[in-house]
Symmetry: C2
Subunit: 234 residues, 2 copies
Amino acid sequence: MTAVTTSSALATDRSDELTLLGLVGQLELVAFTRLAADSALAPSLDQRLRLARFSAGAVARLDRIFDRIRELGASPQDEVARFAHVMDDFDVRTPSSIWSERLLKAFVGYGVADDFCKAAAAGLAEETCTLVNEVLDGASHADLVVAELGAAGADDDVLIARLALWGRRMVGESLGVVQSLLQSQPGLARLVTEGAVIRGEAADDAGHPDAVGRLFGWLTAEHTHRMERLGLTA
Amino acid sequence: MTAVTTSSALATDRSDELTLLGLVGQLELVAFTRLAADSALAPSLDQRLRLARFSAGAVARLDRIFDRIRELGASPQDEVARFAHVMDDFDVRTPSSIWSERLLKAFVGYGVADDFCKAAAAGLAEETCTLVNEVLDGASHADLVVAELGAAGADDDVLIARLALWGRRMVGESLGVVQSLLQSQPGLARLVTEGAVIRGEAADDAGHPDAVGRLFGWLTAEHTHRMERLGLTA
């Protein structure tokens, strides 16, 4: 794997690694704030407590990312600050009006963002790749969302239809965030492509696999799986 | 110490212990939510991150309280739920209009609440008393508040005067919360009095020290120390 990485014309460098770590760190910080606000608004004490624990967990994950950035000789705050407003547009454009929409928004939005980070992490050397995957796998509050939305929609076809529509809107907005990240941060596109090279995906005439093109298909498929867990049509 | 506790007519019981643990747990949950909201509003990334860590710390402290409630054979959620709205009135009555007022509000309000809980914990058997004190001592984000407010007020006499006034209002409201807790939860008053018995404070003609009366003097003195750390007149 090392041989492929170093021989590739696309080979990524430390600055790309730091870019991805900065993005993951910022997303954990956003997740902390978001889940804490969800906790404050939760309709029951049980949900409030569970969301509080997920929120605190995001801070622990953030600290693991910070440790790695420091190991690489950079400033965690500087790296995270580069993505200070990464979710702002998304949030402004998608005000949720009921609790189940709010839960679904985080589920879909973080799901897509986490998958994107994993796709980019595939282009990194093993140590950081493993760290990013561990951090993102620990981030899921999917079980709570599945249980709550399953219960909320069990006897309510109108709500199920409303949430399915909301999910489609959320995934569209989330893919828009990914698109804009790929444009503004070429290092992330390099990492996604490098991941495809490492996996040995077929290359085009220029010698590069069309990894960024395929990324959106994969993100959409993963979203569809998540919606299926909720019993919703993607 | 055990002899005094068991011989006293005021001796507290397990239900009083659970009452205090429920209150401390609820205050940690409120602190988590509050500090997370402070983090989201913080003017710099550094403050945002520090407040996020304090917020996550409140969840860890909450879990220690929950463990102890379970050890005593009770339901943590039930005990905490009894104090579901303990700070609601305080929050509604004291909307802060600037960042430094917001910081000071938490500093004063939690300071008084924590001191009150410590005064009540003094009436408990050693294990839970130690736990409550450890939890509350870990809760302080005083250093951040002192640094931030010190910097904010360094060259601004108008702000200093405004914050001193705000601090006086906050302590009045906070003592009102304590007053209402003592009235609605007689177990807490028993614990405060038991603490005075354990310390060997002089008793009145009925054989009880006037611990609740002295409590407000002590809370006010502690508040004055905190304000002095900020360079503010209490």
